[in-house]
């Protein structure tokens, strides 16, 4: 490859890196906005549910009775926002890490190997959903929710 071709290739690669850096930061922003919006929505639902529960406790009648099983399911549903936040936090941290590597001229060669990168990332997974083993759905809820208690 002649010098002109090398120069042209380096220029194109530099443009791609710049593109990645700009897009990665926007992805982080969008992910964080999504988390904030979803968390606010869940908190509002929790406050509303708490108020309904108070009314239920204060009224002795069955007019606003909440079925215990349905209540359990709602409580479990509320917890998925926290689960989702943990999953997205990890992705955001990884995007920042990638951005830092793209910004570093002399990045350690090992940090640029995709297999090493993904292995490190996967080692930080703590939930079945992160391994694609079970979606955050009824399957996960039924298999994990509350049944997995270990006493020491």
């Amino acid at each position: 490859m002649d010098k002109a071709s090398q120069h042209s290739l380096a220029f194109v690669q530099g443009e791609r890196v710049d593109l990645c850096k700009a897009v990665l930061l926007e992805w982080v922003t969008q992910l964080q906005l999504t988390q904030i919006s979803a968390t606010q929505a869940v908190n509002q639902m929790l406050h509303a549910f708490s108020a309904i529960e108070m009314q239920t406790l204060e009224s002795s009648g069955a007019a606003c009775h909440i079925d215990a099983i349905q209540k359990d399911r709602m409580y479990q549903g509320f917890q998925y926002q926290d689960r989702l936040n943990q999953m997205l936090d990890l992705v955001v941290r990884d995007i920042h890490r990638l951005y830092a590597v793209l910004n570093t001229e002399d990045a350690d060669a090992t940090s640029l190997r995709a297999t090493d990168w993904l292995e490190r990332l996967q080692n930080e997974f703590v939930m079945a959903e992160q391994h694609g083993l079970a979606p955050a759905s009824n399957t996960a809820r039924d298999s994990e929710a509350g049944n997995d208690v270990t006493f020491f």
Partner: protein, 122 residues
């Protein structure tokens, strides 16, 4: 007089869900957003037990358990770890630190109350 439980989690919504579950069952609940805040609450008041998350900023749950076990007034306070972490190695760290139970989120309120009752028998 109601027994008091210390609930430690960096997620406000999780603290609210755990708090609602325990308060509806007649317990008093004091909340903390991380291990450091929780240690500040251990100021002499009596807690029947603590329900503690693992992954938190500032001071994580394992560090909190270790620190609480160093305090004469709280070294026997039962601590239930309530976390998304289900790996055996993490459970072992919790056990070694001094936790009494390990429960995986998302929890069922009835199962949490069953576990709490084991430590808060009247």
């Amino acid at each position: 007089m109601a027994q008091t439980i210390l609930v430690i989690d960096d997620s406000a919504s999780l603290r609210q869900v755990v708090g609602m579950t325990l308060r509806n069952a007649g317990y008093e609940v004091i909340e903390a957003g991380d291990g450091r805040q929780a240690l500040d609450k251990l100021d002499g008041r009596k807690f029947a037990m603590a329900v503690c998350d693992v992954n938190m900023p500032v001071m994580n749950g394992i560090e909190f358990v270790k620190a609480a076990k160093q305090l004469p007034n709280y070294k026997f306070m039962p601590i239930l770890m309530l976390t998304t972490e289900s790996q055996e190695s993490m459970k072992e760290q919790g056990r070694a630190a001094g936790a009494k139970a390990w429960m995986v989120k998302p929890f069922s309120p009835s199962a949490l109350l069953n576990a709490v009752t084991k430590f808060c028998a009247v």
